[in-house]
């Protein structure tokens, strides 16, 4: 029997163990941004420069653990991920290296990149208020905090606090209002919930459409997707906090790994991704906003109107994420 096993293993190992040989003109990307949002850009870059790009996709957590474990052996040149919290954590773990690029510094506003230049935002995602045009007058709405007001009792829907988007939102609120006030706001939200939190933004909006609640907080591109499928939905976006901090924004972004084997190539790719040529496509693939302010919004997105965005550095969201998660646990926000 053990001989059989040995032979089997031998056969498998000779057929399946393909050494990971790397070509010189090649960039390896670990990406937590999903494939169909990055592939068109990578293909365009390859067509333009002849540089081949290989990538694996996974969730940010496992990819980070892998980068960290592989250490100097890692084949990855670039880590690309959604959410500033993940980028901040990658920088904390030391898997991203500071890069000195005038182009990136010029293309990407300071609030959307790491103060030490270890990562750069490549698209902006706005998390804002969405409301039922049938049951809510625009004048009733003002800020995220105001949704904690008892006037909204039984009218608010939220997505779960386990989603990083809400963790970032609350983290930024902590940095703005302090722990105590934020805690009051979150408790107020929980008290106003019409139904227990949902697992995703789309379901949350469908709850408004079906009449379970009147108002919610969602990322704009989910709204865009719903609108694309059904242009007649009785929902509208509202830009909160326009008189003070502005709309909460998060990013998807990337950085060059500490042990990148193709560092120069990797920097050039990031520079190209931040350029006017690539930014339009990068954002419009997912109805997000370009990180490069020189690039105009996609027509669909532009139709939702202009807004003032929170210009606190998004790194704060990572820094305060743990505090935010704990605060939400204490407030009973599931």
């Amino acid at each position: 029997m053990s001989k059989l096993k040995f032979v089997t293993l031998l056969v498998i190992s000779t057929t399946f163990v393909i050494p990971a040989v790397q070509a010189a003109d090649e960039i390896v990307v670990y990406s937590a941004r999903k494939e169909h949002l990055i592939k068109p850009l990578f293909d365009a870059y390859t067509d333009k420069t002849g540089v081949n790009i290989r990538y694996v996709t996974d969730k940010a957590g496992p990819l980070l653990a892998r980068l960290k474990a592989e250490g100097s052996n890692t084949p990855a040149d670039i880590l690309m991920t959604v959410d500033a919290g993940n980028l901040w954590q990658a920088a904390q773990l030391g898997v991203l290296d500071s890069i000195d690029s005038a182009i990136l510094q010029q293309n990407i506003p300071a609030s959307l990149r790491d103060p030490e230049n270890r990562w750069f935002g490549l698209s902006v995602r706005a998390r804002t208020i969405v409301y039922s045009t049938e049951r809510v007058k625009e004048g009733e709405l003002s800020t995220y905090e105001a949704l904690a007001d008892p006037a909204w009792k039984g009218r608010l829907c939220l997505r779960t606090s386990k989603k990083v988007y809400n963790q970032s939102l609350v983290a930024m609120m902590i940095s703005r209002l302090g722990e105590q006030k934020t805690s009051n706001v979150v408790s107020g939200w929980v008290a106003n919930l019409a139904v227990p939190p949902f697992s995703n933004d789309t379901r949350t909006m469908q709850a408004i459409i079906s009449g379970q609640c009147d108002v919610a907080i969602v990322n704009t591109y989910y709204f865009g997707r719903l609108l694309k499928k059904n242009p007649d939905i009785k929902l509208s976006l509202f830009w909160p906090n326009q008189k003070d901090s502005g709309v909460h924004v998060n990013i998807s972004g990337a950085g060059v790994t500490t042990y990148a084997k193709h560092r120069e190539q990797a920097i050039m790719l990031l520079e190209w991704l931040s350029s006017e040529e690539a930014q339009g496509l990068f954002a419009s693939l997912n109805m997000e906003y370009p990180a490069n302010p020189a690039v105009a919004n996609d027509a669909v997105v532009a139709a939702w109107g202009d807004f003032k965005a929170d210009d606190t550095n998004v790194a704060k969201a990572g820094e305060l994420q743990k505090q935010a998660v704990m605060l939400m646990d204490r407030s009973g926000y599931r």
Partner: protein, 567 residues
């Protein structure tokens, strides 16, 4: 040689040649150790999380959510346990022991829900049945806005979905146990005056206990490890705390600590079940071939058809129709020639992993049969623990093990002056197959071990004493008798590997995308409708092994029956 083995009646031969028996036991023990070691390494990596105390996070969890999570988890486990036992055993009994309209169809069709990933079913269910879904919407337009409907995003809802996805484990294992039950025992029970119900509860069911327990523990381990399904319902269980610690609090150590508690709980439960079973033996006098089926008539027959039909519809047919509907909307956009590669990759991985895993499981099961000491027993228990861990946590444990081995190999090679750039093991198919082995050994071990328990040791001993070589005994005695178990294991592992997501994502070589990876790409940003296309392709690909099993199992029952007849 312990007293236990002797009294457990392995025949007279062993007392005459104890040293020979002892040597065999030793040899099997040696086989079991490396296999258990493969599983143990990643588990140790996870346990090593305790090296960094994370008292702050523990205090926080204990003060806020932990108590609720534990209660939620226990309720879920109990609900799923009763559900899968009821559905799995009753359906298996109906399709394997009775005759009713549609029985031949349901016999294999009731396995199909296996091919649906649990989180996909959960999503389809919520999409259809939640307040904003079409069903309730329609009911409200018919009966007014205050029409009552049970809460869907509720404890009951999660339990129903989990039971519908997981009952096939019990169904398949109980089915093959019932199918191999001999006529003699049942006839004896009937002659001794037991009615059909009493025969079922006092003979059929107890004889199938190893199989039913194996199936139920698979279902419960999967429930414990599940994150995707409960996340869709926003139902917080123990895994919620694990992922919260990891992704929310950026603390992989605390997550490992929580996960290792989960493991300890499972290990203790498995161990005590095996203790409870104690010295009971489940091998059987199979003289007389297959018992005659109970023919259900009239109302009973149609009730049976209705019951099987309802379960089949809710667990498979309706979700499939919904997926087909969604796929149709996006088929022109998303279906491209890459799907051929995706299917080929998925099937190749599924089948190769099943092959490797089954060999591992068989070795482990034989080791447990021949060497019943504490070391071998612990080794087999450890070998089956991988299934109880949340997929992502185990995947990271395995990845850390492999990168550790890689780093070690590289430093050795460097010592010889060979400099290898990049990882050696990580990112190869071999590593991925090993990862599947670690994760799914329990799935293969359950059916194989429970069929092995039903083989009387006098059979192979007789073959040996008649001069058959060990290989011959394996080929002519064990394999035919084990084949229902092996086929169940083959199907379960193949389909489970095809559905597997976290290890595939983390350890796959560049470009080796599978259908599960595709589902992940779509669902990670909530585009569930677009995930319908890879999901339905996965179901269709999963049908291949089911069909294979159906063809083979109808053949092998004839083989097994004829082997028995010649005894």
């Amino acid at each position: 040689m312990s007293l236990e083995t002797i009294t457990s009646g392995h025949g007279e031969t062993q007392q005459s040649v104890p040293s020979h028996r002892y040597r065999i036991a030793r040899r099997w023990q040696l086989v079991s150790l490396p296999i258990a070691g493969l599983v143990l390494l990643p588990l140790l990596v996870i346990f090593s999380g305790w090296l960094h105390p994370e008292s702050e996070i523990w205090r926080h969890l204990a003060e806020t959510i932990l108590a609720d999570l534990v209660v939620n988890t226990i309720i879920l486990l109990l609900g799923v346990m009763f559900g899968v036992l009821f559905l799995g055993v009753s359906l298996a009994w109906l399709t394997s022991m009775c005759r009713f309209p549609g029985q031949r169809f349901f016999d294999w069709a009731l396995m199909l829900p296996l091919a649906l990933p649990a989180y996909v079913l959960a999503f389809v269910f919520l999409g259809l049945l939640d307040f904003s879904g079409p069903v309730q919407g329609q009911l409200r337009t018919w009966f007014g806005p205050s029409f009552w409907f049970p809460a869907v995003r509720s404890t009951g809802g999660v339990i129903v979905v989990m039971v519908l996805v997981l009952y096939p484990y019990v169904y398949m294992l109980a089915r093959s146990a019932f199918l191999t039950q001999g006529r003699g025992t049942l006839d004896a029970a009937r002659i001794l005056g037991l009615g059909p119900w009493a025969t079922f509860f006092r003979v059929t069911l107890p004889m199938a206990r190893p199989a039913i327990v194996a199936g139920t523990s698979l279902a419960l381990m999967e429930t414990l490890a599940d994150f995707g399904t409960v996340a869709i319902f926003n139902y917080d269980t123990f895994t919620t705390a694990i992922y919260k610690a990891w992704f929310g609090l950026f603390n992989l150590q605390a997550a490992s600590q929580l996960a290792s508690l989960l493991l300890l709980f499972v290990a203790l439960t498995l161990f005590s079940e095996r203790r409870l079973r104690g010295r009971a033996r489940y091998d059987e006098n199979t003289r007389g071939g297959r018992p005659a089926r109970i023919v259900l008539n009239g109302r009973n027959a149609w009730l049976a058809t209705l019951f099987a039909g309802l379960i089949f519809s809710f667990a498979f047919l309706f979700p499939l129709i919904q997926l087909a509907f969604w796929s149709w909307e996006i088929i022109t956009e998303d279906l491209d020639k890459r799907y051929l590669t995706l299917v080929a990759n998925t099937v190749t991985l599924g089948i190769s992993a099943a092959f490797v895993t089954i060999i591992g499981a068989m070795l482990l099961a034989f080791a447990r049969r021949y060497s019943r000491n504490t070391i071998t027993r612990s080794a087999t228990t450890i070998g089956t623990l991988g299934y109880a861990l949340p997929g992502s946590v185990l995947a990271v444990g395995i990845m850390l093990t492999f990168t550790g081995i890689d780093n070690f190999l590289q430093s050795v090679l460097r010592g010889f002056g060979v400099d290898v750039a990049g990882p050696i093991l990580t990112g190869t198919i071999a590593a991925l197959l090993l990862a599947y082995l670690v994760r799914f050994l329990a799935v293969a071990f359950g059916p194989i071990d429970s069929s092995l328990e039903r083989i009387r040791s006098s059979l192979p001993e007789a073959a040996r004493s008649l001069g058959a070589k060990p290989v011959m005994v394996l080929r002519r005695v064990y394999l035919p008798l084990l084949s229902p178990g092996i086929l169940s294991a083959m199907l379960l592992v193949t389909v489970d590997v095809m559905k597997e997501m976290p290890a595939t994502l983390l350890l796959r070589p560049f470009g080796w995308d599978t259908l599960a990876v595709r589902i992940y790409e779509m669902t990670s940003e909530g585009e569930w409708e677009r995930a319908a296309l890879p999901a339905i392709t996965l179901v269709l690909a999963g049908l291949l092994p089911v069909i294979l099993l159906v063809i083979r199992s109808s053949k092998s029952t004839t083989v097994a029956a004829s082997t028995k007849a010649t005894q």
